[in-house]
Amino acid sequence: MKLKKILPQLLTLLFIVLIFGFFTMNAQENMDTRGIEFGFGFLKQEASFDIQFSLIDYDGSHSYARAYLVGLLNTLLVAFIGIILATFLGAVIGIARLSPNYLIRKTASFYIEFFRNIPLLLQIFFWYFAALRALPMPEDAPLLLNSSFMTIKGLYAPSPVWTNGLTFLAFFILAIISIICFNIYANQKQENEGKQFSKLYISTSLLIIIPLLSFFIAGVDLSWSFPEIRQMSQSSYTFDGGFKIPPELIALTLALTLYTATFIAENVRAGIQGIGKGQKEAAASIGLTPNQVLKLVIMPQALRIIIPPTTNQYLNLTKNSSLAAAIAYPDLVLVFAGTAMMQTGKAIEIVGITMATYLTISLIISLLMNWYNKRIAIQEK
């Protein structure tokens, strides 16, 4: 009897091992006959191609490993900005969808149905080429906020120039630590004595005041480097100074945000609607203000419904960012699984590394979101 239970499982395991073995053998044999060698030594070689946009110091004389890092950081950058913007926009649209105002409600519904049902790649192309058509050439660009230029070649904005920047960073970290300490203290006070602090106001003030202090007592100073137009030839211009956000990044972020926000909005709506009407009425009947009802009764319960499907949307957004390759945003796929793969011919190694990287990013996001989900889940006592 026991054997009969174990045997099928053993066979399944054997089967899986054989399948993997077969594919590995097959790949090895074919690579042997074609004289392709397997190995990761290429990562140390000089990459000898340049990348348009990089968060770290990079040029073609750096290694392939460094190029990989540039691509990875660019992917993380667009995913990070996209997740934050999509969450805000999604929450707003989701709540607007439940608005008693007809116009607001219908506009939100229309937005969701429109953006949710058009393939993302098309939206990326649309925003990119629409932006390129609509934006002015550098020499015609109007001055925005007295400091920036939005042109077809990207957004040129002033960049900060720090004196004693590290000291400022230290003060900033100090501010964060003091906020955490204050919150722990305030929670204990409330638990023990029932005394309430307005935590948000005090935390915000701490975040502003402590870093500001560094300017007066620690000799920190900040000035700005403004973009200045320069003529390159008879009719072509560019900007010097400041920092530049390429139009590819703007279009990609816009498309990913607008697309993912529709799904998050629906999650938010479902979460709020999933809370029984009785909860709201009961909370009101014990004398809570409408603000307190939302903050203390509705949202904590709604979040339990909202978080798990929203985690999926965060993962989707991150993976969808690989469509960047279509519009020349140098993400992991374009730089590493694109140019680097072509120049080295190490298809199996590079696709393997790229897959493992996306898997790792996704697992980390899942882990964080699961941790958060556990924190807000019902604590059975």
């Binding site: 004289g35 008879q234 072509s236 390429p246 374009l334 694109g338 140019t339 011919g345």
Partner: protein, 350 residues
């Protein structure tokens, strides 16, 4: 529960047997044959050819899906030689990034896609270049009103659109670095997006092989607003590629191309090929198959080269039809026969 596991057991056993059979077949395929690729091609009845996603003059499909171009003609020549019919080709359009993987993984048997022959590609990644069917070089396209008339007019901060996965990306870096000019590389996966981005003004210059620039210029909104700068910054010998490890197939592709070039040298064209059978020149007779046994070396019949010339034409006819008459590059430049001032020179077919 008991019944269930019995069923599962049976399924697994059957699957394992299938697996063993599959392994056996795989082993059988590896047995020594004359040319595995040739045998496969003949049994399939078509040549599997990797081409570009649309480059006028080299490989481009019309509205009806008919492919034309000098790169396409190499595949057609091989089809004429091994299958007897130049139209028996299955084309797979590939991006620059996909092309080598498609070839090494066995999805296609010839890659004829304006591909530059370089040492690292030839030696490193399981490929063999069989020859050159177009001598090209990298150049730059700019707007006529930009005031840039030569690469000496390039200034710091110039943005350059190009394709990823090409030698262009590397040459561009060498070029700008050696001149100490800072530049912004904007690299796209597909050529159509490069053209659209450059055309809209995203980039100050568009760089790729000069033949490519000439062909893509025709796709711009106003082709006359753009010009190709006179300088050539690299050598780009473009040619067909095969997988490493099948020497006979490699020879067939190489000599199919060589026959086209040599036929032009001896004045054999698609229209006069049959009458050349009775020529006094033994080399002409060998090329049209009325003397010698050239095909036997590859396991082909003796009319293989005659079929190439009759169905596809010689290299000059192919160039005229695809590149000169379409207005892309009317001047043959280096792609002229060595006897007429060019550098096309192939070993003798004898």
């Amino acid at each position: 529960m008991f019944k269930h596991s019995k069923k599962l057991f049976a399924i697994l056993a059957a699957a394992s047997m299938l697996f063993v059979v599959a392994c056996d077949q795989q082993g059988g395929k590896q047995s020594k044959g004359k040319s595995k690729t040739l045998k496969n091609t003949q049994s399939k009845g078509f040549v599997r050819c990797g081409v570009s996603q649309g480059l006028p003059g080299f490989s481009n499909a019309d509205a009806a899906g008919n492919w034309t171009g000098v790169d396409v003609d190499v595949c057609r020549a091989v089809a004429a030689a091994v299958l007897g019919d130049a139209s028996k080709v299955k084309y797979t359009p590939l991006s620059a990034k996909e092309r080598f993987t498609a070839l090494t993984s066995g999805e296609i048997d010839i890659l004829s896609r304006n591909t530059t022959w370089t040492l690292s590609r030839d030696a490193d990644i399981g490929l063999t270049f069989v020859g050159v069917n177009f001598y090209d070089g990298q150049g730059f396209m700019v707007r006529k009103d930009s005031g840039i008339n030569s690469v000496d007019d390039f200034a710091n901060g110039i943005s350059a659109c190009t394709n990823i996965g090409t030698t262009t990306e590397l040459n561009m870096r060498d070029f700008f670095n050696s001149r100490g000019i800072s530049y912004e590389p904007v690299a796209f996966e597909k050529a159509d997006e490069v053209v659209a981005a450059y055309d809209s003004g995203r980039c100050d210059t568009y760089t790729t092989d000069k033949s490519g620039l000439a062909a893509q210029r025709t796709k711009m909104t106003n082709p006359d607003d753009h010009m190709v700068l006179p300088e050539t910054i690299s050598k780009e010998p473009l040619g067909p590629v095969v997988r490493q490890g099948d020497a006979v197939w490699e020879d067939i592709v190489r000599w199919s191309l060589n026959v086209m070039i040599e036929a032009e040298e001896y004045g054999i064209t698609s229209s006069n090929a049959d009458s050349m059978k009775t020529s006094d020149n033994p080399q002409i007779k060998r090329l049209v198959g009325s003397e010698g046994e050239l095909g036997a070396a590859f396991g082909l019949d003796n009319d293989w080269s005659l079929r190439i010339i009759k169905q596809v034409g010689n290299y000059g006819e192919s160039y005229k039809r695809n590149i000169a008459d379409t207005g892309i590059l009317p001047d043959r430049g280096p792609n002229q026969l060595w006897t007429k001032g060019g550098i096309l020179y192939v070993p003798p077919a004898r």
